[in-house]
Homo-oligomer: 446 residues x 2
């Protein structure tokens, strides 16, 4: 564990720099509020506030609170003043992103409340989280760091929509609940879907989520709401691996090497499946908007293929840099099909023979190659299949699918479909590494 | 209708001959019983008893009744005496089959009862049916003939297991219920599954059958029990056709012409499916034993293919004469597949990750090409597929399937599998006519 901690624990210099920058900012905020005669207080939140950030991976989250009956606009005004050079971003409300001493800073307006249950938007809750953890975490920082890095290595860290994994706050609460990194892993290795963890014995409510971590500052909320079943059990499986044989590469996994042309051809040949890649310029949106849309597109395309009688065995989505230089990179949807070619005719089930009106409409609207005949009481015809190849179906119909607002627009404006060995035409290392991982498809399960 | 009746109504000569033979037989039975001092009475039953047989398609059903406390053996003894040259057959009990004046005669021992509800086996009921119909059918014989021929033309006549259609008695009861051929068709064209017809307003019991015709002489029994849903609605659909446009070919359909080599190749090419024929010497059993087994075999093979990831679009079974001279002919199972070739790898779903013991056994027993990975909370591996071609799967596994007792034995002793254009090797006209019908697959639906 020490070998891991050496790599992830912030150095004294890193710590001093971050703490110094934070202190300066809080002082400037106080002075600025006084000068503008605004009731607005700065609060440091996030991992920086409790010393639980992974070395090299830190930013500052500073919340600017106004009174409950105040105006968030005052806080936003102050933030803009503080950083004339900034970017304005938008979650539930607007906030300001800037850089101070080379450190990324988020300045987030919120309401100052007595009780987390009275919050108006999610950001109002964060200061409560910060206070709750800060008061209890002292002495356990290393355990939090180990758990976060382990989750990162296993690919389940990050509650944003791209990952659907564990948030930093959730990792901290798990350490508080089970006392240590190993304690969390031991508990996790026995988790089942529907697990409920309730630090303050607050709530007996049922949750539908695979894991429910009752928020200690707001019992109605599940801290693990974003965690997907598969990410949860990737963590469970990896926990068992670690307990059986604590390997360093669980924390720092080897990245897959980009696949060579020869290896790619060999995989295509040995698997005997049909690979399809759909590629398009990525829209200018953040990951939390892009990835849900990529997944929506992936599902819409798989459903289209299933309706056409084809079958997708596995698929993946990615956002890659564009070697040809699209400003926002490329969206890529990779599909592996086990059924991609079908006969010229298809069986088409009609209504039951006793529904005479439906039946007549059905018979009038088809010129069958075979039939009509009766099967299971229903009229059946065999008619020409519109698309005998999965690739043609995607080609002709993709523009009509609901792929997510931004992706639909990009796909309609232009996309390329590669099938089978045409994938060789794509040589960039991000794609070849994705292929290598796709063909290996190995989660840590022991 | 007269043009139909001309072809199906027994001629005066045919009638005279049948009635003469029947009268002679009944007299000989009476004399013989007297001579042997046995209490045994002959009763003429079936269509010959009420003049409702289709011209050219008649036999004599004579029941030999003994008292309720008597011995069926007495009747059997008498039957053997009467026809020294006979074949002994077996339904629920033994009976005797012989030929008199070129007419096939069944001599069936039964008990003489007061009430059909006290019968000991199905044959005891037949004399009651005969009496019930004979007393009511006078004047409606032509209507019965039209209905029977219509059912024959549509392919739904015959309640034995091969057809699963309408029995002669059921046709007669339908005429009694609806008064005429047209009346039956008008009623039928509005039938729905679960139709109940109760001539004597006997029973309010629920039946699961698609059609329930309460037996007027035994209300606990459904005369239409053998009728399948699909035969019932073939009749319904054809009834509507007739009412819309009464065509002669509904009664006398054109038989499909055997398919030429060229047409067969064209069908195979145009459909783009894969045809498989499994052929084996038929066992020495009657149709009522053979056909249920053929259908069982057809289902077992389709299920095998489905388990292997393949898909049967449609199938048929047949019993044909063997051009090469197998004594009992050939059993043939014809399959048309829309999925018959699959990739080298297949996805294999394992247990949920939280079932640790199952999971460990699963992981230990597979050396995956890809995976293990987690999907839907379960461990998944991608492993080599045992059979990538449907034909190989049948070839290797058919002998281990439960195909029905007699067919399993024959298939194990020897069978041939033909795939795709290999079907051209089979030139006999019965098979080529089956193919023609199979590809047309047209029921009378309007």
């Amino acid at each position: 564990m020490n070998r891991v901690l050496e790599r992830i624990r912030p150095t004294p210099e890193e710590r001093a720099r971050l703490e110094g920058t934070a202190r300066d900012l809080l002082i400037r905020i106080e002075e600025s509020a006084k000068a503008e005669n605004l009731d607005c207080q700065g609060i440091l939140a996030g991992s920086a506030a409790r010393g639980t950030w992974l070395s090299g991976d830190c930013d500052l989250d500073i919340f600017l609170s106004v009174p409950e009956d105040g105006d968030l606009g005052d806080a936003l005004f102050l933030a803009r003043r503080l950083f004339p050079k900034h970017e304005e971003r938008y979650a539930e409300h607007a906030y300001v992103q800037a850089v101070a001493d080379g450190i990324e800073v988020d300045l987030v307006p919120c309401f100052r409340l007595e009780d987390a249950r009275r919050i108006r938007s999610a950001v109002d809750r964060t200061p409560f989280h910060s206070i709750y953890v800060s008061r209890r975490i002292a002495g356990l920082e290393d355990q939090v760091l180990l758990l976060k890095q382990f989750m990162k290595g296993v690919g389940v860290y990050g509650s944003e929509l791209k990952t659907g994994g564990f948030s930093g706050y959730l990792a901290e609460l798990l350490i508080l609940r089970y006392g240590s990194f190993r304690g969390v892993l031991e508990a996790a290795s026995n988790w089942r879907p529907g697990e409920v963890i309730d630090l303050e014995c607050h709530s007996r409510r049922d949750h539908d989520s695979p894991l429910a971590m009752i928020d200690p500052v707001d019992p109605g909320r599940n801290v693990a709401a974003a965690l997907t079943l598969d990410r949860m059990f990737k963590f469970v499986a990896a926990s068992r691996c670690f307990l059986e044989a604590p390997a360093l590469d669980l924390f720092f996994p080897h990245r897959a090497e980009p696949l060579s042309d020869g290896d790619l051809l060999r995989h295509i040949h040995d698997r005997g499946t049909y690979m399809i890649l759909i590629e398009f310029p990525a829209p200018a949106v953040v990951e939390d908007v892009l990835f849900p849309q990529l997944r929506k597109a992936e599902e819409a395309i798989s459903a289209l293929l299933a309706r056409g009688g084809f079958s997708v065995m596995r698929s993946a989505v990615a956002w890659h840099r564009d070697p040809a230089g699209s400003p926002h990179g490329l969206g890529r949807i990779l599909l592996e099909l086990d059924i991609w070619e079908l006969p010229f005719i298809r069986k088409h089930m009609g209504p039951p023979v006793w529904e005479e009106e439906h039946l007549n409409r059905f018979l009038a609207s088809h010129k069958p190659i075979s039939g009509p005949y009766i099967e299971g009481g229903r009229a059946v015809v065999e008619i020409p299949r519109r698309y005998t190849r999965a690739r043609d179906l995607i080609d002709m119909e993709i523009s009509g699918l609901a792929l997510g607002k931004h992706i639909s627009a990009e796909v309609r404006a232009g996309h390329v479909i590669y099938g089978g060995s045409e994938l060789l035409q794509i040589g960039d290392s991000e794609f070849r590494a994705l292929l290598a991982e796709f063909f290996l498809a190995r989660d840590r399960i022991c």
